[in-house]
């Protein structure tokens, strides 16, 4: 593994019989992820794709298959409950893909998982991929290739755009992590940066931020103090108007706070290589990775 997922991942898919869940479960299996179980309440006892046992509860799935990672594709109103169920069943890494989770639900999920020592990625995120080992979420496996670049991002397709440039120019990835575009997410930039910094397979880090909040500024501060590896960064939303939610619930400039420009300023102050365009990632990485 590079960070958090890899060959040793034993994945359970919550909502595996749903439209999204079944589609992506197949994609993850095709990529080679070790998908050991599915969960859909009321569908326990079935078998998915003639291989994967389906259970009524995560606790049953864990007892039967020793799953150690969960990915969630359930409707928004049930997502908080699904995260809590996985946490309560002893799953240490939970990835919630679901978009549209009410933010107040997350204010209770956060202490619940903290009390149980669970790492949550998302919600409203594309998940993670450790190229060549495991894919947990919806990042297209075809655009990735193994290598030394760790990538962390608040968005989905923009991440693919950047990964596309990386792979096309010979920069493989250790792990790509989409942390999600919501105001409250389980894992923030600093968590991922800490893991990449400690991961021997990661030699450089790409960080893709967005307008809204101060997560990028705090990450920059952290990088300045703690991250020895080279980091390059982008912030989407330079042209976004104030007070309007740009798709992602978290991508909103409140008053004078959370603009792309102030985030770029923080990046510069932390010695992060500035990507003004997604394609700039190539030249910047060339300059730091010989």
């Amino acid at each position: 593994m590079s960070i958090w997922i890899g060959k040793e991942t034993r994945l359970v898919v919550q909502g595996i019989t749903g439209r999204e869940g079944s589609f992506h479960a197949r994609q993850m299996m095709e990529y080679g992820t070790n998908l050991v179980a599915g969960v859909t309440p009321g569908k326990g006892g079935r078998t998915f794709e003639a291989k994967v046992p389906v259970f009524n509860t995560v606790a049953e799935a864990v007892a039967a298959t020793q799953a150690n990672c969960a990915v969630i594709y359930v409707p928004p109103a049930m997502a908080a409950g699904a995260i809590e169920e996985a946490a309560d069943a002893g799953i240490p890494i939970v990835v919630c893909i679901t978009e549209g989770v009410p933010v107040l639900d997350m204010t209770l999920v956060m202490p619940y998982i903290a009390e149980r020592g669970v790492r949550l990625i998302g919600p409203n995120c594309p998940g993670m991929i450790t190229p060549g080992e495991a894919k947990v979420g919806i990042i297209p496996g075809s655009i990735c290739t193994p290598g030394p670049v760790g990538l962390v991002s608040r968005s989905g397709t923009l991440t693919y755009e950047v990964v596309h440039h990386l792979t096309g120019n010979g920069f493989g990835q250790s792990t790509c992590v989409g942390i999600g575009g919501d105001p409250i997410v389980g894992t923030n930039f600093i968590d991922v940066l800490t893991a990449f910094n400690a991961d021997p397979k990661t030699e450089a880090i790409v960080m893709i931020g967005e307008i809204g909040g101060t997560a990028e500024q705090e990450a920059a501060e952290y990088i300045k103090k703690h991250v020895a590896k080279p980091v390059v960064g982008f912030v989407a939303g330079q042209t976004a108007p104030k007070g309007r939610r740009m798709g992602h619930a978290g991508a909103i400039i409140s008053g004078s706070a959370g603009t792309a420009e102030e985030k770029f300023v923080a990046f510069e102050a932390a010695g992060i290589g500035i990507m003004r365009r997604p394609v700039d990632v190539v030249e910047l990485l060339k300059s730091v990775l010989k």
Partner: protein, 379 residues
């Protein structure tokens, strides 16, 4: 979702928060009747989702019912920042001894609802926060426990020294917290919270923003949406399950994914253009969505070029290509279309588009710079 002031007042009132009298009117006659009922001088306020109502003439002081009717007839139907005023709120012009600010906001940093209160109220609280942050008392509420009595007391004592007023404020803090939690708010604000010359504590103006993610499971909140008070193109987009925000430029953008949509707009700007909109068609690549997206963008006469930027992951680029072909067959698109597609099923997508004579690009920078050049040429 922003609520109108009168809707926010209704939620506060239902929770028991003391409010100034008054009501909402849709005709001058109604406004006159409200003014007569509440008596004395009243304020007639336009109910629109934009700031600066006062400067635009949307807020007037009426000394009697006849004046209230007169101002209401002026304000109703007027356009403020592109939005037509359909409703006015008529409230008594309260005599005010002191003004405070009480806000409750969903805070990303603490991942909790956070109270912000200040006895420097009635003014722009962001200005207070920027210039004199020491005048604001902040308090994060752990939603596992709710607002605790000693926390409400701390907030109340930050506003009032008089014990009766502090007790009244404590109760209001609890009630505002209840409003926030039971209505799925991301913001609930009383500004100003006033004391009257006889010592009563009263909410004069209220602002509530509801988390859009609550609306699916909360039809009772969803009905509060007033589409007549929104940009019509954004209403149409939402009904078509598209995320759309109108902007002032001339390069119309159709993108899949919010982050890539923002990055595309940024790149338009980078190459010297101005985006006409934010538009995210989302993950599922229903051709119908593409048709609707093109309908909405082409309705904007300032758009000089349409730029597609699609990175196919879950989205199948051939579906998007099919949508473009269907749309251009359904209605004539008068401006040039620049298309960038890559990812899932891109060969088939190229085939579909090239078969009707459209050219397709593979690279984002190439597509954006071409679109900007076309927009400039047309301007």
């Amino acid at each position: 979702m922003n609520l109108h002031e009168y809707q926010a007042r209704d939620l506060l009132k239902a929770a028991g928060i003391p409010l100034s009298d008054g009501d909402v009117a849709v005709t001058p006659t109604e406004a006159e009747a409200i003014a007569r009922r509440v008596g004395g001088t009243v304020v007639v306020k336009a109910q629109v989702h934009v700031g600066g109502r006062g400067k635009a003439g949307g807020v007037k002081l009426a000394r009697n019912p006849a004046e209230a009717a007169e101002y209401a007839s002026q304000i109703l139907g007027m356009t403020i920042k592109g939005l037509v005023v359909n409703k006015v709120l008529v409230v008594p012009a309260a005599e005010i001894a002191t003004e405070s600010y009480v806000g409750l906001i969903l805070d990303r940093a603490t991942q909790k609802p956070v109270f912000m209160v200040s006895d420097a109220g009635g003014v722009d609280i962001e200005e207070v926060a920027a210039k004199t942050p020491e005048k604001i008392t902040r308090l994060a509420v752990d939603p596992r426990y709710g607002l605790l009595p000693h926390q409400a007391l701390k907030l109340a004592l930050a506003l009032y020294r008089d014990w009766d007023q502090a007790r009244a404020a404590m109760k209001i803090m609890h009630q505002l917290y209840t409003v926030f939690m039971t209505n799925g708010c991301s913001l609930a604000e009383i500004n100003p919270l006033v004391t009257t010359p006889d010592g009563k504590v009263l909410a004069l103006d209220a602002k509530i923003i509801i988390d859009d993610n609550e609306l699916d499971r909360r039809p009772d909140l969803a009905v509060l949406r007033d589409e007549s008070a929104e940009e019509p193109s954004e209403v149409t987009a939402r009904r078509a399950n598209l995320t759309f925000i109108k902007l002032d430029g001339n390069v119309g953008c159709v993108v899949n994914g919010a982050g890539l949509a923002m990055a595309t707009m940024d790149l338009v700007k980078y190459y010297g253009g101005e985006p006409a909109n934010f538009l995210d068609i989302g993950g599922s690549s229903n051709p119908e969505k593409v048709v609707n997206a093109l309908k909405i963008i082409t309705a904007d006469t300032s758009v000089k070029v349409i730029l597609f930027n699609i990175f196919g992951g879950i989205t199948r680029t051939d579906d998007v290509a099919q949508g473009i072909v269907t749309a251009t067959q359904q209605f004539k698109v008068k401006v040039p279309i620049v298309i960038r597609l890559t990812g899932t099923n891109e060969k088939e997508a190229f085939r579909i588009l090239e078969s009707v004579g459209m050219t397709v690009l593979n690279d984002m920078d190439a597509a954006v710079s071409q679109a900007v050049a076309l927009a400039k040429a047309a301007a």
